[in-house]
Symmetry: C2
Subunit: 194 residues, 2 copies
């Protein structure tokens, strides 16, 4: 029963299924068949819409990044003042939608994928630049030329705590991760790191 306009629906379903499947498997060794099955279609259809496995992964990566971007944007919308905006960025990075085990596993695997795929690499670079730029925008007015180093440390700590969370087996608290980065932010704003 070929209803027209299936393409976007199928694509979205495949992207979601990819993330779920990576989360369930814990690595990128997920087959097109298993993804397609989870999305309720045949593997042939997945190939039909995406062309190949790599492109399915890339689409999932873009989706994850765009969800994160939206989260940050929404958080920034409600924040006023540089300090509040910085806290919003940090909070969004550890928001529950990015902090699900599935999503973390997906991120982690993207880092691996980025080592071989130019496209994946580029997407991660974009993410890093955006995070850095967001931080700089509000750090610079507060601490001037010290913003550069502070942004590098805050961004690094976010990534590091995210990585640790990916390793943790239990569904640990994102509140703790957030608190750690906020503590660092405090230190940076008080100017004790140069």
């Amino acid at each position: 029963m070929p209803k027209l306009g299936m393409e976007p629906i199928r694509r979205a379903a495949l992207v979601k299924a990819t993330i779920d499947e990576i989360g369930a498997a814990g690595n990128l060794d997920v087959t097109v068949s298993s993804i397609a099955k989870r999305a309720g279609m045949s593997s042939a259809l997945a190939h039909h819409y995406f062309g190949g496995k790599d492109q399915i992964f890339l689409a999932a990566m873009r989706h994850t990044l765009s969800v994160y971007g939206a989260e940050v944007r929404a958080a920034l919308m409600t924040a006023t003042g540089h300090r509040a905006r910085l806290e919003a960025i940090i909070g969004a990075s550890f928001a529950s939608s990015n902090f699900q085990p599935d999503v973390i596993a997906t991120w982690l695997n993207f880092y691996v994928l980025a080592q071989t795929s130019t496209d994946a690499h580029h997407l991660l670079v974009v993410y890093q630049r955006r995070l850095r730029s967001n931080l700089m925008y509000d750090l610079q007015p507060l601490i001037g030329q010290r913003a550069e180093g502070a942004a590098a440390r805050i961004a690094g700590l976010i990534d590091g705590l995210y990585l640790r969370q990916g390793l943790a087996r239990d569904v640990a608290d994102q509140s703790d991760a957030t608190a750690q980065v906020l503590a660092l932010l405090d230190a940076e704003l008080q100017g004790r790191a140069q």
Copy 2:
């Protein structure tokens, strides 16, 4: 020409070849054949000595961790005073032997492996505990109960910067990574993060 006592030699060669091969491939999709070939033997022999692919990976992981551990121990040996010891730990974490692209790729892939392999997971937990414990040992006398949070942040930043380095294509400076963590250390010791 079966000279006796080949086992340790072959095992060591396979471990080294595994790290090289992962570094060259950029992911864990390296075949036993390619590893064995790089190590100058048949894949059958690799299976003979290790039993299976997983165990080859685990051995490579143990080796990487033990090299890192030795590096830290050596650095601590020559350092006197809590502050110097902390700097030694940080320096060792970014020492050139761990900061080679091959080794970084291997670490990254171990994080992925740890999501499915209990053994791999355990090894990484041991690493994290050791790092944390090393940091705490010297932080506690300096800043007392604030040591806990400080150790989490420093360890997190080390991991995060390591991750970023794994993503960077160019052979960037470990001096910068070290400097960032040292700046954080400064801030923590001055007590501006609580």
